[in-house]
């Protein structure tokens, strides 16, 4: 059975070209970039090249890019780093109720340390109202963190508008762009952000590497203290193969971004329409238009998400759900609850996220496979009979 992977938002396979670019840095050009002999200097050059590529993609300067171990570290560095370094200026942070855990949990940690955090609500499509940001700003606000594209429901937030508000108020603005970098334009100046997080494994790069954009002049403490690496902003021997991989992934992403986004949007819409046609008692989650090109998120009434995911897996289709399934809490996705879905619908959600290697046939297969599964599960459901 060939597997159909439709969970690219969870992680992407590393592009073979990326792996190829990384390979020499494991044991040929393997020196420590801090070393002064040529073995070391060669890896330093490779890092500089990757840095330029990443900076280029988001219209930043090379020295504004700090490599991290992934999106979560970038988010933690931005949020805790700004909070700790600007304590004397204020103790208030504004974020949204649909952020990734890598943003929410650092905020909760800071609350326990005495900071105040406003979690802005979103509308039924998952949009943050820029006006609500403006209203939430106080004299004590030191940071606003609103994600660029939501990883669950695919909604793209009005970052540029919020960026203007933040700039006017003189408040640092961070965006978690883990789901957008390499997929849709992410120009730090157009978006008006001071900090931006990205993660390689969401754009066909390797797991365990990411980057934080830090606008020149932004005051923040490092999360990992130690050596002089990354100009003292992030200690630790550089993950050279990983960084080279991120650079290569960014290069590949930049090459065909517009075409790929169009291709994926077409497949996405085909899947959305097909599901609406073939499955009654279902609804699309997230914004119908301001939406990541690769994201389809639907709630199927009367049945639970994990059981659908498992059945699809048995048919060779990989996707995910916002159901509580594997988390130790029994709560479904906070994002789905934030857009006012009932618990039942939140537990009954399915997310398909498309990528490079998906074809129209994949979509057909899903559309042909899913209705049978749903019928079988609905026949088992004590909720369905009540409809």
């Amino acid at each position: 059975m060939t597997r159909i992977y439709l969970d690219y938002a969870a992680t992407t396979p590393t592009d073979p070209e990326v792996v190829k670019a990384m390979l020499p840095y494991f044991n040929e050009t393997f020196g420590n970039p801090s070393s002064i002999y040529s073995y070391g200097q060669e890896t330093k050059g490779a890092i500089a090249e990757a840095r330029s590529k990443v900076a280029g993609l988001i219209n930043a300067r090379d020295e504004e890019i700090v490599f991290t171990s992934g999106g979560s570290e970038a988010d933690n560095s931005a949020i805790k780093g700004v909070a700790f370094a600007n304590k004397s200026k204020g103790d208030h942070i504004i974020t949204s109720s649909i952020e990734h855990h890598a943003v929410i949990e650092p905020c909760k940690f800071l609350e326990r340390q005495g900071y105040k955090v406003t979690y802005l609500p979103v509308d039924e499509y998952g949009l943050v109202d820029p006006d609500s940001v403006r209203k939430a700003i106080t004299d004590n606000t030191i940071l606003i963190s609103i994600m660029h594209g939501n990883n669950e429901i695919g909604t793209i937030e009005p970052i540029a508008e919020i960026g203007k508000i933040a700039r006017d108020a003189g408040v640092y603005f961070h965006t978690d762009a883990v789901q957008t970098v390499g997929h849709i334009p992410t120009d730090v100046n157009e978006l008006g952000v001071d900090l931006l997080s990205m993660s390689a494994h969401k754009l066909y790069g390797p797991k365990g590497v990411g980057a934080l954009y830090i606008r020149k002049g932004t005051k923040l403490f490092p999360l990992i203290h130690g050596g002089d690496q990354e100009k003292g902003r992030r200690a630790s021997t550089e993950n050279v193969p990983g960084i080279v991989g991120l650079g290569k992934a960014v290069e590949l992403a930049q090459q065909g971004m517009t075409e790929e986004a169009e291709r994926l949007s077409f497949l996405r819409d085909k899947l959305i329409t097909g599901l609406q046609e073939r499955i009654d008692h279902s609804r699309l989650n997230g914004h119908p238009v301001n939406r990541l090109p690769n994201n389809v998120n639907v709630s199927i009434e009367y049945i639970e998400g994990e059981s659908m995911v498992l059945n699809l897996d048995l048919e060779g289709i990989c996707c995910s759900t916002g159901s509580a399934c594997t988390s130790s809490s029994l709560e479904p996705s906070h994002v789905l609850l934030a857009i006012h879905l009932s618990h039942e619908l939140a537990h009954g959600s399915l997310r398909f996220t498309l990528g490079k290697w998906n074809t129209e046939e994949d979509i057909e297969t899903v559309l042909n496979t899913l209705p049978g599964i749903i019928n079988r599960l609905r026949a088992m459901s004590p909720l369905a009979k009540k409809s």
Binding site: Y302, I303, E304, G305, E306, S307, L310, N311, L314, S323, A324, C325, T326, S327, S328, L330, P332, S342, H343, E344, H347, A379, M380, S381, P382, L383, K385
Partner: protein
């Protein structure tokens, strides 16, 4: 030994893929209803009792793979048992019969045990009531 490449044991997947005793039951002697949409699992369990022995059991479940498999397993386990024997079936026994459950899924086996207990309670309450009426 749990298979590290699968969330569930083979037995769980087998019951999940081919659940036994799914469906409604006409005029059940006992019904157990547990769970709610908030926690993501709802089970309904029906039993037929004849001469103090459970002769049939059916279930309907809204829930994850473990919820479906434990529902299926518990119905299979109770059929043929006396009321007293059935009351001794613990959630651990259900989980064990399935070759184990991931720790975060043990609550499903608890639900299955509860659904069974409630169905038996329901049967006993109805019987007592009938006995009372017959007096």
């Amino acid at each position: 030994m749990p298979d590290p490449t699968s969330l569930y044991s083979e037995k769980v997947m087998e019951h999940f893929s081919n659940p036994r005793n799914v469906g409604d039951m006409e005029n059940p002697d006992g019904t157990g209803h547990v769970g709610n949409p908030v926690c993501g699992d709802i089970m309904e369990l029906y039993i037929k009792v004849d001469n103090n022995t459970i002769t049939d059991a059916k279930f309907k479940t809204f829930g994850c793979g473990a919820a479906i498999a434990t529902s299926s397993m518990v119905t299979e386990m109770v059929i043929g048992k006396t009321i007293e024997e059935a009351l001794e079936i613990s959630n651990r026994a259900v989980a064990e019969a399935l070759g184990g459950l991931p720790p975060v899924k043990m609550h499903c086996s608890v639900l299955a045990e509860e659904a069974l207990k409630l169905a038996i309670d329901d049967y006993l309450a109805k019987r007592d009531k009938e006995d009372g009426e017959n007096e």
